[in-house]
């Protein structure tokens, strides 16, 4: 049904004569759900970037404004979780490539593995928190630990959001319900996942350089 507003995203009407882009560029721009979803995603990523930029600026200012900053050694498991997260991104990319080649079973395998690694990452982050807590380092112990908990928690929330999307796609795929209309969900969740992956690498660099 063209242009239905009963679903979350407006469905595009039949492709306009002459094809090409909508958006006022000379063809029929009546709602391209895929393009709008990608735009919405990048807008969301811009907002997330701003929030973490604000945290970063607070981090740098707070570190420099007083002499009470005490660095602590990062829990070693973070290296493992970082590797897990990067690997999960690679697996999602392989999954997308399989989907493009029409190899659905392969897609399911890669995507499920990537999702599982994402869950593993989150568990690893929890383990890192426990390790810090058992070493007597809590949120209010020192500004360095305040920021560590804050940034890992904020990142963890984004991981949780990303995982929700990955699991949704996975369930749909395993139930063989991943029609062409859901390719957008695959791309949106994969791009979001790569973003939180990159965000984590950035945070690791921040902890290592300024921690």
């Amino acid at each position: 049904m063209p242009g239905s507003v009963t679903s979350d995203v407006i469905k595009p009407p039949a492709p306009p004569r002459g094809g090409g882009f909508g958006g006022g560029g000379g063809s029929d721009g009546w709602g391209s759900s895929r393009r709008a979803s990608m735009t919405g995603l990048f807008v969301l990523l811009a907002a997330t970037t701003m929030a973490f930029a604000a945290f970063t600026s607070a981090y740098v200012v707070r570190r420099g404004v007083s002499n009470d900053w005490i660095a602590f050694p990062l829990p070693r498991i973070l290296w493992v979780t970082s590797a897990i997260l990067i690997l999960s991104s690679v697996l999602l990319e392989l999954a997308r490539r399989s989907l493009k080649g029409g190899r659905r079973t392969e897609f399911n395998r890669y995507w499920t593995a990537g999702t599982a690694l994402g869950i593993l990452f989150l568990l690893g982050q929890g383990y890192a928190w426990r390790e810090l807590a058992s070493a007597g380092i809590f949120v209010a112990t020192n500004p360095s630990s305040s920021f560590f908990y804050l940034l890992t928690a904020a990142h963890g929330l984004h991981i949780l959001g990303g995982l929700t999307a990955l699991v949704y796609v996975d369930v749909e795929a395993l139930r063989l319900k991943l029609g062409p209309g859901k390719r957008t969900a695959v791309d949106v969740s994969a791009v979001f996942w790569h973003f939180v992956d990159g965000l984590w690498i950035y945070l690791m660099a921040l902890f290592l350089i300024w921690g």
Binding site: G24, G29, W30, G40, T48
Partner: protein, 588 residues
């Protein structure tokens, strides 16, 4: 309608809840936002009247004060703390739930999709969620009135240490916590709204609606959405830090050695100025979030009722973009008092002055638009002209405040109160009135009463100038702001008659608003039926019936062939060419 493509029309869902409560229709959501803002403006205005009353009768015993606030107004006398919490809630509710909500989320939701030829926002469910999240934020904010200790007193800017120390005063406990939670929820709602506005503008424009054919209203909603997106993300981050300082024992904003209620706090090393930087990085763009949609509406209305194209459409677009861009680089001018390096102050000052350039471009183009036009003085036109007047008055005092040397003197005086109420408060409100009178026929299918509207305009216009102009003189005379009582100071005693005058003006202006409410609700039911294009305007919303059908274009896909403001084109059969009219309408 010249569109060749006809698709099946869609019908609204039938159930009351799906149709009016949890509606996915952008028009219903826009009206929901509008009424949310209308409720909020009533609350905010009542608070300001209470404050104005208290300033001239600081010792008055009012029985119902005591029943409303048993502790904060014991015996019916308002405490200074209660005054501060009224001030905080007035500012917060007005800025977030009126100025941010009505012009952007209200009118923008209703008219952005129609004006660009789309049948709805890009993500209708997200749109509905965004409204109900805003509603939740308002509920949490209003709840702060009813908790122990009452509402917070740290101002709408919530400066720490006051806002970060729960035991620092009444209202700084649960009241302040609710304030931060409400603002955080509001940030989430704004983010959802921004995603929708941006994706809709970029991807859902109809055939022929190139960026440079968009009405200026759409440009302002688009840029405002970008400002909201970037600004509210930073405010959310700052709010999280503040909550942690309050409840998790961290020291982001709290320095060492704070003595509160005879106790030294455990915090150490934090910087209250860090909050100010983060807050104003959001706070200054917020000013433009409030005013930009008003600028768009004003441009649209001035062109319509002068029967002339907007003077310098391109320049207007670049001025909107320029204001949006520069808005992020001037937050420091709110902090000249913070002891910043004079070099930084100089940089912020120069950048602030630079905003005068796009602002002046807009003002001169508005004058150019009405210059020599065949002006139709409708109520909408009057409010648009009022907007220009208030924007100029409020903008000029901004040039004074942008100078660090002058700001050091003016900063904590009524000069600032006069300045920001003129430009951010009243000018933006005039934009909303203008929008209401212009678009009401399209929104509700009936006309507002013009006579009542004009009386309302003249009373309001005189009223707001009478309230806010004297504030500038008070500021120059050194009258501090945020004081609840001026009677104990010799040098302020002589200024009391001015305060008396301003309070009377506030009563007068508030009374004038009764006319507006009567007009609004009476016309909704009994007003004259509106035709599709009562103003003989050009943009797409006037091509469809009033009110528009559920999917806006009843299955047609509009095709745009003209710019948004083709009025009085030589040789055309009538003095306006609608955006969907055939191309050869130009032919002489």
């Amino acid at each position: 309608m010249s569109s060749p493509a006809i698709h099946g029309a869609h019908h609204a869902p039938q159930g009351f809840i799906r149709r009016y409560v949890f509606s996915l229709d952008h028009k219903v959501i826009g009206i929901q936002y509008y009424f949310l803002a209308l409720f909020s403006v009533l609350v905010g205005m009542s608070l300001s009247l209470l404050m104005r009353y208290h300033m001239i009768h600081p010792d008055a015993k009012v029985a119902w004060f005591a029943s409303l606030w048993p502790t904060a107004a014991q015996g019916g006398i308002m405490t200074p703390e209660l005054y501060l919490s009224l001030m905080t809630m007035h500012g917060t509710i007005m800025v977030f739930f009126v100025l941010t909500t009505a012009p952007q989320s209200g009118f923008g939701n209703f008219f952005l999709p129609i004006q660009i030829g789309a049948e709805d926002m890009a993500f209708p469910v997200l749109n509905m969620l965004s409204f109900w999240t805003t509603f939740l934020a308002l509920a949490v904010m209003v709840a702060a009135f009813f908790v122990q200790g009452g509402p917070p007193l740290a101002g709408w800017t919530a400066y720490p240490p006051l806002s970060a120390v729960p035991q620092a005063g009444p209202g700084e406990g649960l009241g302040q916590t609710l304030w931060i939670v409400s603002i955080a929820i509001f940030c989430g709602a704004s983010l959802m709204g921004a995603i929708n506005f941006i994706a809709t503008t970029i991807d859902l424009r109809c055939q022929g609606m190139s960026l440079m054919r968009m009405p200026l209203t759409c440009w302002t909603w688009f840029v405002t959405a970008i400002l909201g997106l970037l600004g509210f993300a930073v405010l959310l981050a700052a709010g999280v830090l503040l909550i942690l300082d309050r409840s998790a024992g961290t020291s982001f904003f709290l320095p060492a050695g704070l003595l509160v209620s005879d106790q030294i706090l455990n915090h150490k090393g934090g910087s209250p100025l860090l909050w100010q930087h983060l807050f104003w990085f959001f706070g200054h763009p917020e000013v433009y979030i409030a005013i930009l949609p008003g600028m768009g509406v004003t441009s649209q209305i001035l062109a319509t009722f002068s029967r002339k194209p907007v003077f310098g459409y391109r320049a207007m677009v670049f001025a909107i973009l320029g204001i949006g861009f520069l808005g992020f680089m001037v937050w420091g001018h709110h902090m000249f008092m913070s002891g910043m390096s004079p070099y930084s102050a100089m940089a912020f000052s120069v950048l602030t002055m630079a905003i005068g350039v796009p602002s002046a471009i807009k003002t001169f183009n508005w004058i150019g638009t009405i210059w020599g036009g065949s002006i139709r003085l409708t109520t909408a036109m009057l409010f648009a002209l009022g907007f220009v007047s208030l924007f100029v008055t409020g903008g000029l005092s901004g040039i004074f405040l942008g100078q660090p040397a002058l700001d050091l003197y003016f900063h904590d005086t009524y000069f600032v109160v006069g300045h920001f109420h003129m430009i951010m408060g009243v000018a933006a409100i005039f934009g909303m009135f203008a929008g209401t009178f212009y678009w009401f026929p399209k929104m509700f299918g009936r006309m507002l009463n013009e006579t009542l509207g004009k009386i309302h305009f003249y009373m309001t216009f005189v009223g707001v100038y009478a309230i806010f102009t004297p504030m500038h003189f008070l500021g120059i005379a050194g009258n501090p702001r945020r004081y609840s009582d001026f009677t104990n100071f010799d040098f302020l005693g002589k200024l009391l008659p001015v305060h008396f005058f301003m309070t009377q003006a506030a009563y007068f202006t508030a009374a004038a608003q009764i006319l507006f409410f009567i007009n609004l609700f009476w016309s909704m039911k009994k007003g004259k039926k509106a035709t599709a294009n009562p103003w003989e305007a050009t943009t797409l919303e006037w091509t469809v019936p009033s009110p528009p059908p559920f999917d806006n274009f009843a299955g047609h896909h509009p095709v745009v062939k003209h710019g948004p403001y083709e009025y009085s084109v030589p040789g055309a059969p009538r003095d306006y060419i609608m955006q969907t009219d055939p191309v050869d309408m130009h032919a002489a």
